[in-house]
Symmetry: D2
Subunit: 243 residues, 4 copies
């Protein structure tokens, strides 16, 4: 690998290829510090540089497989709350994509890294992973639509932003990069359409909410941004329970 | 149309092309009378004979479009209850199919029969339609997995059974049958795989439940069977609210 | 009994002893016809006149016992959606009152009319009762706060209004009135505080919602008003399932 | 204060004044190490010895007030899942007690320690507190009854056990103990009845479940036991978010 210096993803100004409506922009603004921290996490740096130990990547992938099941559940709950059938279908599709597309990725890595579906099912969730999952579920069940969608948004958004920032900073992925497939996935421009759809729905649900609900939604968004950093961190430290 | 006599769908013994595990068989047995009644309903008879008035078919299609949104919601809620990711995906796919495949059908009929998405959204649900929808949602939210799936099962099962009984009794659909597309859809042998999957899950969730929950599940199944008949009936009578 | 002519509860203008905020007033206005019909139902007339057959009153009480369990569930779900702890407690108390206060009433009538808790549990719900219950649950689970509370409001409101209209029209309850206890309960002025609390919360949640959610809430309110009439009717006709 | 040495709550064998059915015993056994750790936590030691800094106690009380709202929500969700009305009422009462009895305690401490309801509402939840809350909600929404109740059980059980162990080890609470009220509350023998009721329901729901659900319930129980330790710890360290 020729990449040896630190990559500055948090300094990269990305021209986003999808519109960012005002409420989404306000969410990012409120969570600014936590948002930037994700890009600087050593796991992310090592992933980009190709120096990440296979064991840590494996740990990450296995925990992530379980995370995606909860993402699907949160999206499914949101779907049941949407009065409009187009919204309903969009969130069902989001649930499905979490299970299918990512599931395929994990199956591929499973064979390569040595784990199967039974290993995933038997996994002990790390504290940070469990907390993030339950946050999405709890807000989807108890909160209003704008809060539920706000809690769901950081996961796809940070990954897509990370993929695009890596592309801007690193350029083409070297053929011999050990995580080339993973990096390539999040550069896929088809995600721009996904983000445009997600953020416009977030805006619409924010427009239908009062100020108090929008405040809670911004808090739910920030909490998920924090959990995103904590998700990288649980994989980097191979986190265990304190007792 | 050459079909003039009553068709005897309730007398037709169908060799089902999918396995019926014991719990599903027990559900049908407990709901035997209500089950058979659906096949004899005048709406069904007229639909098969091609004599159904377009206005009644239109009424049915519009109410059904809204019903399918609730079916999707119930399947989505069930998905969130399934610990196994394969089950989770199966019910998300069931939710999706309710919205997509049927949605396509309704779009086609919408153009033909003169209604669009706004008309569907503005529709007053009939008492029977609303009751059936809310039954599925209530059981999916409050009941155990076996109860939730039992409440969902009659809808696809009765339609597929009806499609196959019609095929056995009527043979090929005449080219000039006004509801040829509709009849053809429910003969599609791809539904056999759907039913096999649904009924095996119902069995598995029944195996994981105690006797009391299985009894409640049989009651939920029977209630949905009754609502199936009442759904034909609300379309036949163009049901309104009593006050 | 000296009461022989029809009582005109629907004509009685009640000076309500609790404030009716604008959104509650708009709900009543939208459901005006269905609202009035409840007061004229023959069950209500016979109940007031003391001519209601014991068997119909027993049928009503047994179905109502099961209804109150669903009312509790809907209030409990609403409680989990309230960010404010005072609201949370108020709806938990509403759930509790449905189970306790009314439960005591039913226990008393149970001894008098010859049924016990096992009979209640084994009861087949009538179509109208089941539909009403599932409506409250479905809206509480899928709708926004204002919709969920709107679906819950008609039950206490109509009963309290009925109690107060009966008092205005009939005056003191004769000592030998066979349903004196029942009539007395809904005249209890402590319900005024309950109504003031419920309607002010409905207003607050309406203020936090957009026009579309308020429209859905009015529809949920009207649907419950209709189900109130249909609840009297299921007891009057001793309703059974059509198949 | 005369208490200067470490108290050994984790060595104290308590004769429990309520029956512990086999499934509850199996849950404790599976979570043995995490269970004991709570009693040894420095926060607990300092609380018993009366040396706990007021600032830490205040931090704890404020976070706990918010925790109890989620406990109420989890109990309310469980209530909606119980087919039996006695169970339904018991969990509504548990929800109510979390809000009322503890609310009173917090109001008292609020005046003494200088915070009010607005401060509680404006509080940033610590990571450990949020995670524990969301765990209870997520399991109550997605899991089966036995799992939901298993996740709820550690909170009252550990506190009651702690109260009784402190009594066995320390004897009478000195009049000048700064946390005398708090210690006294958890010694209240009325909690024995609460525990007997809770654990017998846990057993009954375990009996109705299959082995897989019981395993998940034991995991949910252990997770809550871990969160109990982490709750002491968040107050001890005045935990903040890492980003």
């Amino acid at each position: 690998m020729s990449v040896t210096t630190n990559l500055s993803f948090s300094d990269v100004s990305v021209d986003r290829a999808y519109p960012v409506p005002p409420f989404a922009a306000a969410c990012v603004d409120a969570a600014r510090d936590s948002w930037g921290a994700s890009f600087d996490h050593p796991f992310v740096q090592a992933l980009a540089q190709g120096t990440l130990q296979a064991e840590r990547f494996r740990f990450y992938q296995m925990q992530d497989a379980r995370y995606l099941e909860a993402f699907s559940d949160a999206a499914a709950l949101i779907s049941t709350r949407c009065p409009d059938p187009d919204d309903k279908l969009w969130f069902i599709d989001a649930a499905r994509m979490a299970l299918v597309v990512e599931g395929e990725l994990h199956a591929g890595y499973g064979e390569q890294l040595g784990y199967d579906a039974d290993d995933i099912a038997a996994l002990t969730l790390t504290p940070n992973n469990r907390a993030y999952q339950d946050h999405m579920i709890s807000v989807a069940q108890r909160g209003s639509l704008v809060e539920a969608v706000a809690a769901l948004t950081p996961c796809p958004w940070l990954y897509i932003e990370l993929g695009q920032r890596m592309e801007a900073e690193m350029g083409a992925i070297p053929d011999d990069h050990p995580y080339a497939d993973w990096l390539a996935m999040y550069r896929d421009p088809e995600f721009n359409d996904y983000m445009a759809n997600l953020l416009s729905r977030l805006q619409r649900f924010a427009d239908a909410a009062d100020g108090a609900a929008r405040s809670r939604a911004k808090e739910a968004f920030q909490t998920s941004i924090r959990y995103e950093w904590m998700f990288w961190d649980q994989a980097w430290t191979q986190q265990t329970w304190p007792v």
